[in-house]
Assembly symmetry: C2
DNA sequence: CCAATTTCTTAAACTACATTATTTTTTTAC
DNA sequence: GTAAAAAAATAATGTAGTTTAAGAAATTGG
């Protein structure tokens, strides 16, 4: 079953009883998206938190002048949403799109709220997910403040080698906060 | 009681029963620190998560050349720690210091782990705390990637006016990721 | 399979911010 | 209250990264 992936993901942090598994699976809605699908568009209410079974997704912010900043990539086994807008059920600041054909499990806000009540272990699960996300973002802030673009690029390659292969340099540049032209220069220097 | 502050903080997200309150308070260790105390030093194991009853704290990263990047400020009613190192009980990457005399409640890792078991509602509480921290850090990443130093400075003033009054410009500059000299220029331009 | 579009590279001119140094102002300590 | 230390301002010079533009390479769609 493809749903093995999400169950293994859950099992990293909590153990579900046999009878809890079908309930949990019943609130997930599986959907297949072709390449370049828009999963969430800025301004829309973000109704779901999303688990990537297969494929690659990108969340990005587009500023008033159209400049894009990639906030995160998500590959198989990752959770992704516009957390702020999902939690508060407000218009999204981010866009989320597929970079290739992807199989996504959607979990609705109201179903998650019920889940916390019916299976409180999920409070623990998402506490750990949020904790890890916080630690990741904070590390990224530290690196953005203290490292050069070149250092950030090499850390990105080391940390997410499989993502680096899937996405364009333009997208990597927008994740690093530099222009594609400057990334191209960094890459050219490397070979010297 | 000064401990009212932490109980009100908890009550924002969960309701404790009468009998749970004394247990929770019993695992908190209150300590008073003079100005410029070091609460956590990089390289040390980070043993506690800390609640600020009164005063102001600063968490910062110091790179190999001694350059400081301020990761967060914490004033009354905030939780602060080096989360990565607290969770994994590994040597700290961050330093935490008081910027004025401060009254801190310390919560030890092992007591927190017990607390999650004895009062599982705290899973919910810290899930929400972590969620908010994640959202905050992600917003900061977006702003670091897409806004100029000047824009970031004005957002900081709007968002944390009381912090802005308590801390030096050098510290604000290191939070924004710029030099104090450049912040001084930004401030001078403002008056034109 | 070819045309069209997108991506990547190169390079010159430019800008936001850093560095260094000096002076002035504010804070701290006895 | 005064000396010493730290913080802030100003200014000249330097640099990491941007902008603009144009050509080469790779991908995509029909």
């Amino acid at each position: 079953m493809t749903q093995d992936i999400v169950l293994k993901n859950i099992a990293k942090h909590i153990s579900l009883d046999e009878n809890e598994i079908p309930y949990f699976l019943s609130i997930l809605k599986e959907k297949k998206y072709p390449k370049k699908s828009v999963i969430l568009k800025e301004g829309e209410i973000c109704k779901t938190i999303n688990f990537v079974q297969s494929g690659t997704l990108r969340a990005f912010y587009r500023d008033s002048q159209g400049k894009e900043s990639t906030i995160m990539f998500a590959v198989s086994d990752w959770w992704i949403t516009d957390m702020s807008c999902f939690i508060n059920q407000q218009p999204a600041m981010l866009n989320i799109e597929t970079l290739e054909e992807s199989l996504i499990l959607h979990l609705q806000k109201e179903d998650l709220d019920d889940l916390y009540i019916k299976i409180p272990k999920f409070e623990r699960f998402f506490r750990i997910i949020m904790q890890n996300a916080y630690i990741r973002e904070q590390l990224r802030v530290i690196q953005n403040l203290s490292l050069s673009a070149e250092q950030r690029y090499h850390i990105f390659l080391d940390k997410y080698p499989q993502v680096a292969k899937q996405v364009t340099q333009k997208q990597i540049a927008s994740y690093l906060g530099i222009t594609p032209e400057f990334l191209s220069m960094i890459r050219a220097n490397k070979n010297k």
